[in-house]
Symmetry: C2
Subunit: 226 residues, 2 copies
Amino acid sequence: MKPTVSTANRDEGSSVAAIRVVIVEDDEKIRNAYVQILEFADGLECVGAFESCEAALKQLDDILPDVILMDIQLPGMSGIEGVKHIKELHPSIEIIMFTIYDDDERIFQSLCAGASGYLLKSAQPEEIIQAFRQIRSGAPMSASIARRVLNLVRQQSPASPEQFQLTDRELDILRCLVDGLSDKRMADKLFISPQTVHSHIKRIYQKLQVHSKSEAVSKALRSKLF
Amino acid sequence: MKPTVSTANRDEGSSVAAIRVVIVEDDEKIRNAYVQILEFADGLECVGAFESCEAALKQLDDILPDVILMDIQLPGMSGIEGVKHIKELHPSIEIIMFTIYDDDERIFQSLCAGASGYLLKSAQPEEIIQAFRQIRSGAPMSASIARRVLNLVRQQSPASPEQFQLTDRELDILRCLVDGLSDKRMADKLFISPQTVHSHIKRIYQKLQVHSKSEAVSKALRSKLF
DNA sequence: CTATCAATCCCCTAAAGAGGGCAATTTTAT
DNA sequence: ATAAAATTGCCCTCTTTAGGGGATTGATAG
């Protein structure tokens, strides 16, 4: 199988530089459909369409697009893997994921791999075209995806130091614990005796409901105290 | 000072239920401007406009809007604090932040407090109206905000288990360490002898360059291994 | 004024952990 | 086939930690 469109460098002298787009999608029908959509959109130019990441990667150096519309489910290398490779070789190329999947895991992995947008295949052509236009300034994503991304952000937050009723001094000690210091080193650092350190630790254990340093560190970090 | 608009319950029998919007914004000019914008938008209805969170909170029980457009910089309670209170009392009310600030900290805090959208004051009226219409299904935010949110998500990821060259078994042990288990409990859990556990731990310490369980746990969690 | 709490310090013991070396077995890679 | 690496297990000693007492000072709040 060959790429459906081999029309790299097809700039027919439009007034301003068009946004150069590459499509990576294994389903020929869908691929062609989106090539068509791009044809009709002002300011957008389809400079390549491939059915696998491997095929696209071979020609990227020559084509140098501004944006890639990337399917996730692909034969061979997955779209997410593809993003990693492309971003490594060409950090300035923006990538929009384009898929039927809207689970947290794929969204998260895609964004971390370097994708800057995430559209569902249920998106209207109008939405897709707008996504390309927004890509430089924003992070285009389907509405439901934005909701999920927002929840991903929220997950990393629930920090509330008051939760465990720790005193200021106990927080000092806990910080040292998290730094992996021994009782003695904490004593030196805080200018108190090792026994005092131990007293504080005992009370911290009671408040956090743990029985060892490693448990305390784990609980503190997992509660996002630090 | 009194709220500029006291027109709660002003439904003049439109065909479908309009989205009921409340505005909280201390600048009278801006407040009135957005009341006007809402007046002209189909399907949106301004059911209240207040110059402080305190004022809004007093009447929320009576008004029960669908969405609140919330400024951040407010006299008295900040918009972010306001979101926390409102979301506690009325979890189903959606809140869109509306501000000149686009720093990570305020964005992060707002979203964690419970806001579902984040618009910059530079947004066009058209964008604002669309935000209200999207609020149920999506998370409307200005393009540049979406970019920052995306970066916030990326921050929480850089996990690379290969970094430390740990073997599968060593990762098992490290997982147990992070759970705060003692050598004995790990041994029971993994069906090996406590001495073997200790052997693995010793090698883990070498690879992570640490000298205690608490240090190992700290390094593992801070490296986002788990 | 006095009770409470945070913070400091000390005693004790038993248990757990850190670090050293060594070796058998199995799995994996060359 | 053989070398390398992973996994398992044991020996040893010394230090650290966990958890149980109790005591003193100073600040804070009724």
